[in-house]
């Protein structure tokens, strides 16, 4: 991905294409696309929607970043879902069980979540390194196991308590909460949104300025060249999965420490899968992922307005799905076109001369065929 155009064009094309697709779908089903779009845009100004979008985007951002770390070296950590949920319930239990000064309490809870996520991600990593088990298979299965583990942990006779018809962990004391920035009836921005920003910047620095990031990208691009360059593939798999898992572990923290203070059996799930879509959309780039997360959150939150104008809000799901599908295709097409263009450009700038190969007019050199055998 060389040029800025090469980076921006695919997602723009994909979004335009899926918008077109949705328009057609709406028209076929007899709804009015224009009023739908207008309703979604005006919805942003309503009540706490704008703040909700940012809060939600922060959560998506973490999930997508977790996926992107794996993607950088062609590891498909589809287990972000399980990792974040196990981490969330563990952190909630720990947070409710300890009593520490304000601030420190929250730090301990956050670290617990990161460590738990990393440990849960270590399982597929170790399986891959030692037994060559594909991480997609093992982490999907671990997602299913995670659901069972959570159900077990928040039983009343374990660490849970019954609240009406719901069941969840004990409430984290106030010293473990992370306050937000209140905008009155416009909602409250999670304090951890700023942590998310820091992690995003850290991710960029790691990928672009550190040896580790370089080795990660090199392994992703060409495992053979990376190995010849002294990159230890197995170590990279382990570290990348641990980091991916640690970030995944943080996914539920903004909501847990900023709003819910308990992990319920009904707490939101599915962020891990959303993260995959957003990582694809943002091409693993921290800025791209941020835009993708905001777009996703916008579609989610303002879709609620669609029912008011007689447009089924499921159209948003169609749009999200078609964005992901078309962005994958668009990236590949643009990549090929760009590479070809660059080859041509290099050829032109070097002045392709009519004769000889490559550097035509080469210095007379000693060269013979490989003799006889």
């Amino acid at each position: 991905m060389g040029t800025l155009r090469g980076r921006l064009l695919p997602p723009v094309l994909a979004i335009a294409f899926s918008a077109l697709l949705c328009t057609v779908t709406l028209m076929v089903s007899g709804a009015n696309p224009a009023s739908g779009i207008a309703a979604m845009v005006t919805q942003v100004g309503e009540g706490s929607v704008a703040v909700d979008i940012v809060n939600s985007a922060a959560v998506y951002y973490l999930a997508a970043l977790a996926v992107a770390i794996g993607f950088q070296m062609n590891l498909f950590n589809i287990g972000v879902e399980g990792q974040f949920r196990v981490a969330a319930v563990t952190a909630a239990i720990v947070g409710a069980a300890i009593d520490l000064p304000a601030g420190l309490h929250a730090v301990v809870v956050i670290l617990t979540a990161a460590v738990t996520g990393a440990l849960y991600a270590a399982i597929p990593a170790l399986l891959k390194i030692t037994r060559n088990v594909h991480e997609v298979i093992s982490s999907i299965m671990l997602n299913a196991i995670a659901a069972g583990v959570i159900a077990l942990l928040i039983r009343e006779d374990m660490f849970g308590e019954l609240r009406g018809s719901n069941i969840g962990t004990h409430t984290i004391p106030e010293s473990g909460w992370v306050g937000g920035i209140g905008f009155g009836d416009r909602g409250t921005l999670f304090g951890l949104v700023f942590l998310v920003l820091v992690i995003g910047v850290g991710y960029w620095v790691m990928m672009n300025r550190t040896r580790f990031g370089f080795e990660l990208r090199a392994s992703g691009e060409s495992p053979t060249a990376a190995a010849a360059g002294g990159v230890n593939a197995r170590r990279m798999i382990l570290v990348a999965m641990l980091m991916s898992g640690a970030v995944a572990g943080l996914v539920a923290m903004p909501e847990l420490l900023g709003r819910d203070h308990t992990y319920l059996i009904t707490s939101p799930a599915g962020y891990g899968f959303t993260g995959i879509a957003i990582a694809l959309l943002g091409r693993n780039h921290p800025g791209g992922i941020a835009l993708g997360a905001l777009l996703w959150a916008f579609l989610d939150k303002s879709s609620l307005a669609l029912d008011n104008v007689g447009v089924p809000k499921e159209i948003v799901t169609i749009m999200q799905g078609s964005i992901v599908l078309s962005v994958v295709i668009a990236y590949e097409v643009v990549r090929r076109v760009e590479l070809r263009a660059e080859r041509r450009r290099v050829g032109r700038q070097l002045g392709a001369n009519g004769g000889g190969t490559g550097n035509g007019g080469a210095t007379p050199a000693a060269a013979t065929a490989g003799g006889a055998s």
């Binding site: 991905m1 060389g2 672009n208 300025r209 550190t210 040896r211 580790f212 990031g213 370089f214 080795e215 990208r217 090199a218 691009e221 060409s222 053979t224 060249a225 990376a226 190995a227 010849a228 360059g229 002294g230 990159v231 230890n232 590479l339 660059e342 080859r343 041509r344 450009r345 290099v346 050829g347 032109r348 700038q349 070097l350 392709a352 009519g354 004769g355 000889g356 190969t357 490559g358 550097n359 035509g360 007019g361 080469a362 210095t363 007379p364 050199a365 000693a366 060269a367 013979t368 065929a369 490989g370 003799g371 006889a372 055998s373």
Partner: protein, 529 residues
């Protein structure tokens, strides 16, 4: 299938073929006439444009100019399917077989419409087997076959699809001498039955032994034809390289008595534990010395290099660098200790193709100045500056250091790699086919740089299939056969012919007695296969 009448007796006529790639003219005004029922050899050095020409004839590439006639009729191939329909088949250098299927299944795969997949197909394969003299069990699973048998399956595939004109792309590169002879027996008997062969090779002795006529291609264009009965290797070689005659070296020994790279009884077993890929290899490379490894490809050179680089775990033995034991060190530690590495396949092992040139400068050096700082930080500015230096000093033709490595031509990619691997102030350079597939200009420059580094005290382990390169550059030559070093040769006196003979185990140069002994081993092992 056209038989005798139109177009006289020529099977293939290529006239005025020109093919341009961005920045490179791969073929220029090529003329080639192949008579029906002959074995026609196409000779040229690496990078001369043989493969592109054959891809054009096989429909994988379309020529920009020129015409193709097959059996007297002008044709335009848009894809290999068209070429196959016209009776042309190609056996690629790298086999394209499904290992987990049987011979029958591999042959029939994709050609089910011809004779079905049952009894008729089986009978047709048996018939072809009789015609060609290939005794292969159609129910054998391909993964259990040796290289020579796999090649036969590839040829069967081509014949099964109705080819009467068969292109063999460097068919002997992967074979040991006995297998080469067997292949030639089959080719000769098929020629008697009216098949036409286009035989691509740069091995002159083989070409002279099998071909009825020879066309030489140099720097993208055909420079003439020769009669194999009268032409000598020397004459052919001169045609292949033109007037730029080989004198790769003005020799002036810079060899010191300080050992840099020492290998002590290095052994490596294959993954299935059945064969020794390397057997008791002892080797010393001294400062200022270039040790060349000669051998037919596939005799353990790749494994030797990867064992030295720590990319393969050796079964037993020791690797020492300036007396320091690196046997248990990983690839990065070995590189940091001062081993530079020019891999044989620059795309697979040398470059990150989509990354800019400066990122490629970092590869393998991610822990060292000037491209990295302490504490795991990269020094991007340092990497950019040093890449600029390499581009300048090694004459890498590129518009800038931000272009992706994939956009450069092969020769320029290779110059970048050589520049990189000579930058870390290495104690030893492990160079595998350093000028394979690069143009002559880049070749001269790469040789010059290696010689300069040697004069400055660099130890070089050079693996090459280009015997003139080996003889020209090396201070000592070791011959490798079946994973062993079987003979030594003195590059001041040895000829490519003698070296070639030693490589096939047919007679070792110098060190006569031991050489003969070792040949005995080689032959015995050959019998086991």
């Amino acid at each position: 299938m056209t038989t005798t009448h139109p177009g006289g007796d020529s099977a293939v006529v290529l006239a005025g073929i020109t093919k341009r790639f961005p920045g490179v003219v791969a073929n220029r005004d090529v003329h080639l006439t192949v008579r029906r029922g002959e074995v026609h050899a196409l000779c040229g050095e690496n990078g001369a444009g043989k493969s592109t020409l054959m891809k054009i004839l096989y429909g994988m590439q379309q020529p920009d100019e020129g015409t193709i006639e097959v059996h007297g009729e002008q044709v335009r191939f848009r894809s290999p399917a068209d070429a196959i329909a016209a009776g042309i088949g190609m056996v690629h250098q790298h086999f394209m077989l499904a290992d987990n299927l049987t011979v029958l299944e591999n042959v029939v795969l994709g050609a089910e419409h011809l004779h079905g997949i049952g009894g008729r197909a089986r009978r047709r394969i048996a018939e072809l087997g009789r015609q060609t003299g290939f005794g292969i069990d159609p129910d054998a699973v391909v993964e259990q076959l040796g290289v020579a048998d796999r090649q036969r399956v590839e040829i069967l595939k081509v014949l099964y699809r109705g080819a009467r004109i068969v292109i063999l792309d460097e068919p002997t590169a992967v074979l040991v001498p006995q297998e080469v002879e067997e292949l030639f027996v089959s080719v000769r008997s098929m020629r008697e039955q009216g098949y036409t062969f286009l035989f691509i090779s740069h091995k002159l002795d083989e070409v002279r032994s099998i071909a009825d006529s020879i066309t030489v291609i140099r720097r993208g264009t055909t420079v003439g034809t020769a009669d194999p009965r009268t032409v000598s290797n020397r004459q052919l070689a001169e045609m292949m390289v033109g007037s730029e005659l080989p004198s790769p070296e003005t020799r002036e020994s810079t060899v010191t008595d300080r050992p840099v790279l020492e290998l002590r009884s290095l052994s490596l077993r294959s993954a299935d534990g059945l064969r020794d890929l390397l057997h008791d290899v002892d080797l010393v490379v001294r400062a200022g010395e270039i040790v060349g490894i000669a051998g037919v490809e596939g005799n353990g050179q790749t494994e030797l290099v990867e064992a030295v680089m720590g990319m393969r775990r050796i079964t037993s033995g020791q690797v020492l660098l300036s007396g320091r034991d690196l046997t248990r060190a990983g690839t990065l530690a070995r590189r940091e200790a001062g081993i530079g590495y020019v891999p044989e396949d620059r795309h697979r092992h040398g470059l990150l193709l989509t990354q800019p040139l400066w990122a490629n400068r970092v590869l393998g050096y991610q822990t060292r100045r000037p491209v990295a700082r302490r504490g795991g930080w990269l020094d991007i500015d340092g990497a950019r500056r040093d890449t600029e230096r390499i581009v300048r000093e090694f004459d890498v033709r590129t518009p800038g250091i931000e272009v992706a490595a994939a956009a450069l031509s092969g020769g320029n990619q290779q110059k970048l790699i050589i520049g990189r691997e000579l930058s870390g102030d290495p104690a030893v350079l492990v160079a595998s086919h350093p000028t394979r597939g690069v143009d002559v200009g880049a070749q001269a420059l790469i040789w010059e740089q290696i010689k300069d580094a040697r004069a400055a005290g660099l130890a070089v382990l050079l693996v090459s299939a280009d015997l003139d390169e080996l003889i020209g550059l090396s201070d000592t030559i070791k011959v490798m056969l079946r994973g062993r070093l079987v003979a030594d040769a003195d590059p001041r006196t040895v000829t490519p012919e003698e070296l070639g003979a030693a490589m096939t185990g047919a007679g070792a140069h110098e060190r006569g007695d031991t050489g003969n002994d070792e040949r005995g081993h080689g032959a015995a092992e050959g019998g086991e296969r």
